[in-house]
């Protein structure tokens, strides 16, 4: 009914938003953990993250699984050093 008016930038932005995902801080992959998961290991790089849910279906990284990620990093630094 309304005339074809150009959509405002504000409205366009809202349409483009995604949810349910977080990005791995190590490899930047977008990951979709199962709802409510407390720990999720990145299938791409093997780094493990402790998650919290700030809204229904909205995960975020609370912190690393310290020992797992530190071991991963030691390994990858050693490999790099060996090159």
């Amino acid at each position: 009914m309304s005339k074809t008016k150009e959509e405002s930038t504000a409205k366009k932005t809202v349409r483009g938003r995604t949810s349910g995902q977080f990005r791995c801080l190590n490899c930047f992959e977008r990951l979709t953990p199962p709802p409510g998961a407390k720990i999720f290991t990145c299938p791409n790089c093997g780094y493990a993250w402790r998650l919290s849910w700030f809204g229904p279906g909205e995960p975020r990284i609370r912190g690393p699984v310290w020992d797992v990620n530190e071991a991963q990093t030691q390994k990858s630094m050693a490999e790099k050093g060996g090159n």
Binding site: A10, R23, Y47, F54, R60, R62, G63, N69, M77, K80
Partner: protein, 635 residues
């Protein structure tokens, strides 16, 4: 109408008040808020003035859109020559004071001279009174607000005030309003204290006319949805600004034990989610749907039962990572103390962390600290140090002087361990792996600063296409832009773009969480012209706003150069170049800043600004901005 608000010249020495209209021409050149304040700063402060002497000027202002239907338009700006750095002093805060000052009829206050005893200002419906404040002197920032409301018999009064730290001229004292809103940085509280100005109270019932009310309502709704649908906002609604810790500490981008590491592992107790367990909810500033202010009661210790707001992300460094503490109780109590004393939490924590490293290195001993055991991780010592700074007792009296003056007093190698730029301490962030952020703190106009030009979204690994869209508007940019935050290339433009973006919101009186700071798809130059037009009827293009921001930022640069800024001061502490990061993810581990590449970045940044190789704006640039004849004393 918003544009009918006046400027008031308040001479505290002679106790005289004069008011004048603000010419539209000045609005078109500076909008208001920080922009117009920078004009006033350059024009009203005598060159070389002592920041704590009567020749300094305290400027208080509302932004062009403060109080209007522009989401989160709560900000009030305070400026003067900084008692901390001797350069631009400038800080703004939310809460409710800014809109109330506008409702009371004023947009700008120019406060000069020094009162012969404690005073406060009472601004109401177009009038300003200078009132005795002897009975308020010595009271903390929370008590003072209640006392003023009681005295004037009105709970709707909004008060900005200094605490004991400002009275004691702690060089990083701030001005506070509500529970936790602070014009925190550059020591504006000490500036108030030096003028015997304890507080400013405002209550007004004058209409702020909206140019196109129905359309402004609809557009405000759109803007709010744009902001609150973003993941960062939803996270902040629950965790406040603490949420940032999840990314920074997990990656390895925080500074620990002053500057000895870049990640604090296993500190689960101070994680945002752990602190959130203490919160009873969050509070919002005027008209804001992000409501990022945490609310909690202290449950243990001597402050049990105190109602507190916060803590902010900054306090996680001040009472956590930087001082090597990992218990939330210290963060919660430390936050309460800086809010009541009126201290900049960031500078306070940084000064204590620095003193702790000096203690560790033996430059300070228990002899210097009257027995205070300034070991990293000593929670009690950290809290005691806050008291000592605010009350200027013991070692606190030296730390209260701020980084450079304290380093001079302590002598030895103390200065080597300072994490500062231009005499202002850095946030608890470690920029060694992130050249863009390093350039931001090195060049920001008020010293090491994350709110002047930080391209925080550089950390998000955004595709180049997205970066081009954001950073290519409203001024075309076809140089390099890369998704990798470890790169040096293309970053100077990001820093410059953010400078213009933050300057504009500070001129408008809008909170930075409602623009491109922590989220990439937030309102910016594309949205602001419509927002301004619907609220005020003034027409600007995106490029007009950019030019205004450029003009205001250049005024800051001119002021800094006049007060002694040199090219050497647009630089980082040696440790950024000489020591490598020891922790964090592989992308950030073993990193330091490369001197030569960084030099090139600074040069490039100057060039993009059209400043010469010494960082001086060129004659051509000044002419283009119409600044070749400053000071022009039009206001």
């Amino acid at each position: 109408m918003a544009l009918s608000r006046k400027i008031a010249y308040i001479d505290l020495t002679n106790r005289r008040v004069r008011t004048a209209p603000i010419p539209l021409e000045m609005r078109r050149r500076y909008l208001g808020g920080r922009g117009l304040d920078m004009y006033l700063l350059y024009n009203h402060v005598k060159p070389g003035a002592d920041p704590l002497g009567p020749d300094n000027v305290a400027l208080v202002s509302a932004g062009l859109l403060t109080g209007t239907l522009a989401s989160a338009s709560a900000r009030v700006h305070i400026a003067g020559k900084s008692p901390l750095t001797g350069l631009v002093g400038s800080a703004n805060m939310g809460g409710f004071f800014g809109p109330e000052m506008r409702l009371a009829g004023f947009d700008h206050l120019v406060i000069t001279g020094k009162a012969d005893g404690p005073v406060y200002l009472w601004i109401h419906d177009g009038e300003i009174e200078i009132r005795d404040a002897s009975h308020l002197w010595g009271h903390d920032a929370h008590q003072t607000q209640t006392l003023v409301r009681d005295e004037l018999g009105d709970d709707d009064i909004q008060v900005m005030t200094i605490g004991v730290a400002g009275e004691n001229l702690v060089r990083f004292a701030c001005v506070m309003t509500s529970l936790k809103n602070a014009a925190g940085r550059t020591g504006m509280g000490a500036l108030f204290g030096s003028k015997n100005l304890k507080a400013i109270a405002a209550r007004g019932r004058m209409d702020i006319k909206i140019a196109f009310p129905e359309e402004a309502l609809d557009y405000n709704k759109e803007i709010i949805t744009q902001v609150t649908s973003a993941k960062v906002s939803k996270t902040m609604q629950k965790l406040g600004t603490l949420f940032i810790w999840g990314t920074t500490n997990s990656t390895g981008l925080v500074r620990v034990r002053n500057f000895q590491s870049n990640q604090i592992p296993h500190a689960d107790d101070i994680e945002p989610e752990s602190i959130e367990e203490e919160m009873i909810g969050t509070a919002g500033c005027f008209g804001c749907q992000v409501h990022c202010r945490g609310r909690y009661f202290i449950k243990k210790g001597p402050y049990t039962g105190a109602y507190v707001e916060g803590p902010e992300y900054t306090s996680l460094g001040a009472f956590g990572a930087e001082v090597g503490c990992t218990t939330k109780q210290t963060v919660l109590v430390g936050n309460h103390l800086v809010n009541t004393y009126g201290l900049d939490t960031l500078e306070t924590g940084s000064m204590i962390a620095w003193a702790m490293e000096l203690f560790e290195k033996g430059i300070l001993t228990t002899k210097d600290t009257d027995g205070l055991d300034l070991r990293f991780g000593n929670d009690e010592a950290v809290i005691e140090a806050v008291h000592q700074i605010a009350q200027r007792r013991g070692i606190g009296d030296i730390l209260a002087e701020g980084p450079l003056k304290a380093a001079e007093k302590i002598g030895k190698d103390a200065i080597k361990y300072l994490i500062h730029v231009k005499g202002m301490s850095n946030l608890h962030s470690d920029e060694r792996p992130t050249p863009a952020l390093a350039l931001n703190i090195a060049t920001a106009s008020r010293g090491s600063d994350h709110l002047r030009s930080r391209p925080a979204i550089d950390l998000y690994h955004l595709p180049e296409k997205v970066l081009r869209k954001i950073f290519g508007n409203p001024v075309p940019y076809d140089g390099p832009l890369t998704s990798d935050y470890r790169d040096y290339e293309g970053k100077p433009w990001e820093v410059l773009w953010q400078e213009m973006c933050y300057e504009t919101v500070d001129c408008l009186g809008i909170c930075k969480y409602h623009t491109v700071f922590l989220g990439p798809n937030m309102p910016n130059f594309s949205e602001w012209p419509k927002l301004i037009y619907l609220n005020t009827g003034l027409e600007f293009t995106p490029k007009d706003l950019w030019d205004i921001a450029d003009r205001a930022y250049t005024m800051e640069r001119l002021f800094n150069l006049r007060e002694g800024l040199t090219k050497e001061m647009d630089w980082l502490p040696d440790r950024y170049f000489d020591e490598k990061t020891d922790r964090g993810l592989p992308v950030v581990r073993g990193k330091s800043i490369d001197r030569d590449k960084f030099r090139k970045m600074v040069d490039e940044y100057y060039k993009l600004h059209e400043w010469d190789e010494n960082g001086q704006p060129t004659e051509k640039k000044l002419k283009a901005l119409g600044l070749e004849n400053e000071p022009t004393h039009k206001l």
